[in-house]
Symmetry: C2
Subunit: 208 residues, 2 copies
């Protein structure tokens, strides 16, 4: 059933998940689609439609039970399973990702960092070992890795993404400044930091 859910709905689920988490933290136990719509700046009918995809947790006159909706959406998003990540690039960004503890509570486990700098080899960041980048392919083949996060320079990113794909990786978290060129069954989530800054600078220059 879940396979038929549109990409648009899927891309909205993490946002529901975030808002529900905040409501839990605030001690809110139940919420109507109308209240949720005001909070999330979406229409109540959109919210009802989206959440109906998953069997509909809402009850007329009661609204949604925040905790169970949070748990159900989490389950759909896969947070109850572990996901293993390797990070290519042990620079500032790669290290920051591995040091951030907010991912592990949702099942994301950093297994290894890889870097071109061989002097880093054997060191650890937040308990995660750094290996040389030439070991990445073999590591992926011999470990159960789901996601490769790329925080390496552009020249290396193109080559390494193809190598990792050939070694079996299908899910990429791409922080490099390029679009990866991979076969269609590779799923890439881009975090193009410079793009978002450039959109801001455009707005700054054209709204002053």
């Amino acid at each position: 059933m879940n396979n038929k859910i549109s990409k648009a709905v899927i891309s909205r689920l993490p946002r529901y998940y975030r808002y529900l988490k905040e409501l839990i933290d605030q001690g809110v136990e139940r919420i109507s689609s109308e209240e949720l719509s005001r909070l999330m700046k979406a229409t109540a009918s959109q919210i009802r439609q989206d959440l109906n995809h998953f069997g509909g947790f809402g009850q007329q006159g009661y609204g949604y039970n925040v905790k169970s909706l949070y748990k159900e959406i989490g389950k759909i998003l896969g947070v109850e399973e572990d996901h293993h990540i390797i990070v290519l690039g042990a620079g500032n960004l790669g290290r920051a990702l591995v040091k951030y503890n907010g991912f592990s509570e949702h099942g994301f486990i950093f297994c290894s960092l890889f870097d071109v700098d061989e002097t880093l080899c054997g060191k650890s960041v937040n308990g995660v070992r750094i290996r040389t980048i030439s070991e990445a392919e073999e590591y992926v083949k011999t470990h159960n890795i789901d996601i490769a996060a790329l925080t390496i320079p552009v020249e290396k990113a193109r080559e390494m993404s193809v190598l990792l794909y050939q070694a079996g990786i299908r899910y990429f978290w791409n922080f490099t400044n390029i679009d990866l060129q991979l076969p269609e069954d590779a799923i890439v989530k881009d975090v193009h930091l410079l793009d978002s800054l450039l959109e801001l600078s455009y707005r700054i220059c054209n709204e002053k």
Copy 2:
């Protein structure tokens, strides 16, 4: 004129900018809309339409001059002007942003970091001074700051974004796990890292 350009076109400009930079690095001097469309996986007519918004740099039978198109799009995106950024949060992510030198070449200048931890006060990261977060409001009022990057915990982010807005900041680069609640003239670019990971984990769980 630029004010009439649709948001969709604007959001595509940084991507053109990236591809053109890569072409320059590869020594490519000119490119047709057809070649660019194959590379960027967009239709040639979309590319021609998008670039026509800016006076149209292409010449029939010649294509686009890569360097001058790059320079023009950069100018439109505002990279020839300096943009001043403060970073709230001198943790791993805040430090990584300030240490990355790839932003400065496009005119983005980090002016100060701010943190709740007073023991960090007076220290520097990549030449950028850390101040206590209680100084942020006054700093914004007395310096020419365009953008506030938020890498602070959720509890603090809501309060600080409102304070900074009141102090005059209109452009926010939001790395926190919440949507900011600000008046409509605030421009927020979100980098919700957990959202993108959750989309990946959904795909992993539902495609296996």
